[in-house]
Structures are given as C-alpha cells and as structure tokens.
C-alpha cells in the first residue's frame, strides 16, 4: 500500500464520518481523505476528477452505502482519469476506519475498459406461466426472436388452474387463454415444452444455451388433440393439473385449453398396451421418442420460473394430511372452476359446504417453517374465494382467520370492504389447530384476538390459504446462471428497490414470482419491465461487458423433473 490514495466518504446512509484524520494517518504521503455529500452528483464527481488530476492520486476509494448500484455512475471519472474508483459498501454497523483500511490492503485497479460485443437478437425465457408468456409476447411483438422453455407439457402455469382472479373477478381462463393462444401462435416465439435449460455459458449479448427436451411420446405437430387416445387408455391416475381432485389417463391432455394442444404419455404409469397408437388416426404416437439436446444462442435471458404452493403438511396441526375436509386454496380453486373436475360443482362428502373457515398465513409469515415473508396474495384470494363459493352455495357462511388483512393493491381494499358488507366474517386470529369433532365436522381452534377469547369454530370445509414458495430447484437454477438466492429462497435481484428485475449477472433478468411472491397485476407489469430490460441491448445491437460479466459453466446437470406435469406439493 504505497500508492497515493484518495478516500471519499459519502454521506449517503452514513451521515458522514468524523474520522477522516484517523484514516489519513494510515495512508501514504500525498493521500487525501474527504468527507463529502452526494458523490453520485455530477458536480461532486467533477471535484473528484480535479483532485485526482491535481494531486496525482493513483487510486481512489469511495465509501458509500449503496455501492452495488452506483458503479456505473462513476463512468465519467473513469473516462477522464483512466481508472474507476473502487467502491466499498459501508453499513451503519461497520467500523468505518477499519473497513476502509482493510479495503485498501487488497485493492485491485479497475480499468474503465469494457469490450463492446454484438448482441444476438433473441431472448431465452425460462418458464411459461402468465409471466413468461407476457414477456415473450412483448419481446416477440417488438420483433425479436424468443425461445420460451417450459418444463411442463403445456404453458399457462398456475393461472390456468384458477377460476377467477381478484379483485375484478375476471374469469382466469378468459384472460389467460388468449395469452396462451397468442404465445403459441406468435411467429417470433419458439415454444419448447417438456424442456429444461441444462447449461448456460457466455455473457450478455451472447449466451450459449443448452436445452434438454424430454420425450412427449407424441408428435406435437401431428397431434390434433382430438383425445381419442385418451379415451382408449386403460391406465387411470390422479390429475396433477387438478391437484388430485380428479383423474387423468396415462396418456392425457392436461386440460382442454392446453397449449400446445397435444397429448403426452406418462411412461411411469403407461401399461404399454399401445392402444393409443392403434387408435390414433394421425399416427402421432411415438413410443420411440427419446430425449434430445437443443442448442442455441441468445442475447438476453429472462427467468420467469414462478412459484410452488407451500406444502401444508409442514403444519401438521392443521390436519391437511389427516382430514379430507381440509383442503388447500388451489384445490378449492379447481373445485370452483367450471373447467375443473367437478365442472364447478362444489361438493364435500357429497354436499355443498355451508360453513367454511379460511386459515390465513399457512406457510407465510412463519419463521417456524422457514418462511418469514408475506405471500402477498392470500388475503385477497381467500376474499375472492368466498365470492366464488357464494355464487354456487348462496347460503354458505364464511370466516377468514387472519393476522393482518393485506389489501394493498389497486381495488383491493374496496373488494375487502365489499365482501365484509356481504357478510364474510373476518376473525382476527391465526388458527392454532384443526381436529375432527364427534359429528364428523371440523373444529377450528383459534383465538378471536379482538375479543381476547379462544373459540372453536365448526366447519364442514377448512381451506388453508397456502403461501407461495420458491420452486424446489431454484438453488440449482441459480447455480447454473450464477445468480444469488435470497433468504426467502427466491432469486435475488441486483437491488431490491432500484433494480428489481435485474440480477447480479448482466444480461440476465427476472420477473414475476421467481423474484418473490406477487399477484398477477404486479407480475404482469413487472414482466413487461423485465422484457424491456432484455430488449434494450438487443435494439441497440451492442452491449458493453467487463470480465466479471461472464457466466461460468457449472458442470452438473440441473435436469430434475420428468416431463409430466409436477405439482410438487399438491
């Protein structure tokens, strides 16, 4: 450490430092230490350049709070003096002197030089729920090629499973299906279902991608989705799409509006009777199909892998694994949906439920199961489900047991008020346990915290408002793409406030629930935002990258799931 050094301590988040003298003592002769306000401001930077030139500083350290977002701001400094300041992040709890001196010990010069590379005018979108679809449509509409990779046999994600959406009570199929169809037909979107990204290398502008395509055992282009194979298949198993509420065959079409509309054979349950092959007019069945690897290059990558539903078995006191009158919210959604296994008829033990208790925060706001965060959607979807059930069972009574009603989005509070007006009881208190009473009905133990009184509610149906969790294989995905994962196990953004769609890797963006729970509106707005981020370098045609922007290949396969649809938690 013998170089003449300039140390600048910024006020942001720190309120300045009184210890400039102390730091100066430890620096070589000719160094300076300055306490400055708002270094991100351009005039302050001009002063910095002046200092560097006048005092012949050989290196500069800027200590500030948000070092991770400010790097690009000092571009002007780099251009003028030939090197960039080293930014070190200082937090309130840090010993400022110690941290700065420690940073000086191991200082590597940062050259402003970046390589400019051409941008491949295409984007990889991983995951084809509503978020992946919308991003693909936006990018495709802007005129660029999209590879949309989906692990399941069809696109549409969780939204396809919903009946209606809050707070407007739009039919989910009515707004989701057109998006699916548009995605399936878009000339710029290449849809790869039953597929998983298994390797990514390269850098922004030019990522090399390997995709593993699992066999569908049906020729997607030949199959018309007529369903005659399904009708003739003798093997029956529970339908994943309907969360086990209804059956499916070993060769099946997950749901009527599935895109691509093609059957898929589930080899695990197939009896190999080859009846499907025999009955198919189009000769579309391919028992000999094998998995294949597809390789291509893209300019940007967008991760839209969504969420999984919390596994309610992890809260055994709620009896989800024990009682069939205890179901999770997505199961209720399938029961309500006209496209569901009961065609929208809600029957519990053969009768429409009259007394329904919703249990909020199952797997959310719960450090006990490792999920401290709020899932953002459960308050409103429970409120909505009261409305859905009421349409079919007009005399049903509803109680929603909650801690805080988080009706924060546009129109949410209004919807909450409306349902209160219509008689839904909001009981403040989190359900402690559920058991079966002598008459076979469920008993729900909960404190009515506003009455300071523990009560037992009787219910013929208990709905667990299960929270959203990161897909189980998020760590593997993050590993492959060199991304970070947050404490909440969702993918981490570059900065939670300022760069919510960017990742630590240049050229890789994310949107929707892959980044954390959010509702459809917020997801769709965010995904268009991420699409913009991915499109901008492409429309420029060039992007600047530094050595740190390379994605290093992680040599391990991340392929995890079979091609059949998997609802991990059901």
């Amino acid at each position: 450490m013998d170089k003449k050094t300039g140390v600048y301590i910024c006020h942001c988040g720190l309120g300045g430092s009184t210890e400039t003298e102390e730091i100066l003592k430890k620096l070589p002769k000719g160094s300076i230490v300055k306490d400055s306000q708002y270094l991100c401001d351009i005039t302050e930077q001009e002063l910095l350049i002046k200092d560097i030139n006048e005092k012949d500083l050989e290196q500069v350290v800027v200590a500030c709070f948000a070092s991770d977002v400010h790097r690009s701001i000092f571009k002007k400094v780099g251009d003028e003096v030939g090197f960039l300041p080293n930014l070190i992040k200082i937090e309130e709890s840090d010993d400022v002197v110690e941290k700065i001196i420690a940073a000086l010990d191991d200082l590597k010069p940062i050259k402003p030089e970046e390589t400019e590379v051409d941008v491949n005018p295409s984007v990889l979108v991983i995951g084809a729920g509503i978020v992946g679809e919308q991003a693909s449509l936006d990018i495709g509409d802007a005129g660029y090629k999209v590879y949309l990779v989906e692990r399941r046999p069809n696109i549409g994600g969780h939204m396809a499973q919903l009946d209606k959406t809050f707070p407007t009570l739009d039919c989910a199929s009515c707004i989701g299906t057109p998006k699916m169809v548009a995605t399936g037909q878009h000339p710029n979107i290449e849809l790869l279902t039953c597929s998983e990204v298994i390797e990514v290398s390269g850098h922004a502008g030019e990522f090399k991608v390997k995709v593993l395509r699992h066999p569908r055992y049906v020729d997607e282009n030949e199959c018309t989705g007529c369903g005659i194979c399904v009708d003739n298949c003798p093997a029956v198993v529970a339908s994943e799409f309907n969360l086990g509420v209804g059956p499916r065959k070993a060769i099946y079409i997950p749901f009527a509006q599935a895109i691509p509309l093609a059957a898929i054979r589930d080899p695990e349950h197939c009896l190999s009777c080859r009846m499907c092959e025999y009955v198919c007019d189009k000769k579309a069945i391919r028992f000999d199909q094998e998995e294949e690897i597809i390789e291509f290059e893209v300019g940007s990558i967008l991760v839209t892998t969504g969420f999984e539903l919390f596994n309610c078995d992890l809260r055994p006191e709620l009896g989800y694994d024990k009682y069939d009158r205890v179901i999770n919210a997505l199961e209720l959604e399938r029961l309500c949906a006209p496209t569901g296994p009961t065609a929208g008829e809600i029957l519990i033990h053969g009768k429409p439920p009259k007394n329904i208790v919703f249990v909020q925060c199952v797997g959310s706001r719960d450090k006990n199961v490792g999920n401290e965060y709020c899932s953002r959607v459960c308050c409103m979807y429970a409120t909505k489900q009261c409305n859905l059930v009421r349409e079919k069972v007009p005399d049903a009574k509803f109680t929603i047991c909650y801690t805080d009603i988080r009706a924060f989005g546009k129109g949410h509070e209004e919807f909450y008020n409306r349902m209160q007006d219509e008689g839904v009881i909001y009981l403040r208190g989190i359900v402690s346990e559920v058991y079966r009473g002598e008459n076979g009905m469920m008993k729900v133990r909960v404190e009515n915290t506003l009455m300071v009184e523990p009560v037992e509610l009787e219910a013929d149906l208990v709905v667990l408002s299960a929270g959203l969790v990161a897909p189980a294989d998020t760590p593997q995905l993050a590993n492959m793409l060199n991304l970070d994962v947050g404490d909440d196990k969702f993918l981490a953004e570059a900065h939670v406030n300022i760069r919510p769609m960017e990742t630590r890797v240049k050229g890789i963006y994310m949107a929707g629930c892959a980044q954390g729970p959010k509702d459809i509106s917020d997801s769709v707005a965010q995904t268009s935002g991420a699409a913009a981020k991915a499109t901008i370098p492409i429309s420029f045609g060039k992007v600047k990258i530094g050595p740190e922007d390379e994605v290093k290949v992680v040599k391990e396969t991340t392929a995890t799931a079979a091609p059949i649809e998997k609802e991990v938690t059901g």
């Binding site: 450090k367 006990n368 801690t403 208190g429 989190i430 359900v431 404190e447």
Partner: protein, 177 residues
C-alpha cells in the same frame, strides 16, 4: 427499566438472551391462545400476557393469577410463527413474580420439601411397604438414603438464595409464617 427489558435480563443469563429477545417480535396473531389447552379450561390468555408485557403493564402481569395457569406444555412455543419462546418467557415472568412475593403458599410448600428431603414428593410408609413387596429397596437410593447428599442440596439452596425466595426457616425446617 422497561418490563420487557427486565424479562429479557432475568431469563437471558440462563436461557440465552437471543432466546428471550424473541419476546419483542410477537405479532399478536393469537396462535398461542387459540391452541392453549389451559385457555380452553381456565382464564389464561397467553397472547394478552405477552402484549401486556410489551406494553409495560408490569403490575398487571405479575399480580395476575392467570400467570400460574400455564402447565408449560409448550404447545404455543412449538407453533408460534415468529418463534417466540412463549413458555420460557412465562417461566421467566414467574421468576420475577416470585421475587415480588407472588409465590403461592402451596408452591412454597412444595419447594420446602425439596430443601427438607431432597424430594418435591417425599416417600411415605405405605409406599415403603409397596417397594418391599415389589422387591425394591425399602428406601430409594436418593437423598432419602444418603443424608450427606441431602446436605448438599441444602447448601445449594443457600448458595442460590432459594431459601430466602420461599421464606424457609432453618430453625423449624419449615416455611416462615
């Protein structure tokens, strides 16, 4: 000092400060009270006790009879979504209540047996007979059989000032009146 801080400082040295600090983060969801086996049968309201402690209502909490209706079954502790160590907080609040003179006579009596005999539930003649019938030693190999060991317990009680806490009279070997 705030009551919350007092609770944390009292329990911290034995149970750990981090353990006790969880008291602060209660979000009042009521999961504790909702599942409390005692609350179904008695007047104890666990969440209210925690809230009262957080709101610095020291006297109300310490003097309440409900404080002593927890059977330490740990149901609340197990289920708390914020991992508040409710049962240990209850035990600690009772420690403070004890120092403030809220120990019931019956409790002091049970404690005095330990100083007197080493056992909270000492042996009696009938059980001695039963033990013989079962082929066990008439007197169990505990402080009942080892008088020096009993002295050890008594020394220990003096050292921790447990005798003072329960108002034990060494002269009469009984509780002070």
């Amino acid at each position: 000092m705030e009551f919350v801080d007092e609770i944390i400082e009292t329990g911290g040295p034995i149970l750990g400060s981090e353990h006790m600090e969880t008291l602060r983060v209660c979000m009042q969801c009521g999961k504790c009270t909702g599942g409390c086996p005692s609350g179904r049968l008695t007047a104890i309201r666990t969440r209210k006790m925690i809230l009262s402690a957080l709101l610095n209502m020291r006297d109300e909490v310490l003097s309440s009879d409900e404080l002593w209706l927890c059977t330490t079954c740990y149901t609340c502790y197990e289920r708390c979504p914020r991992n508040v160590k409710v049962t240990d907080i209850t035990r600690t609040i009772r420690n403070i209540a004890g120092r403030e003179g809220y120990l019931a006579k019956s409790h002091r009596m049970a404690a005095s047996y330990v100083i007197k005999t080493g056992h909270g539930v000492p042996i009696n003649d009938a059980v001695k007979e039963s033990r013989k019938k079962l082929g066990l030693s008439e007197i169990p190999p505990t402080t009942h059989a080892y008088k020096d060991a009993l002295k050890g317990i008594q020394t220990l009680a003096k050292k921790t000032k447990f005798d003072e806490l329960i108002d034990f009279d060494w002269e009469t070997m009984n509780l002070k009146e």
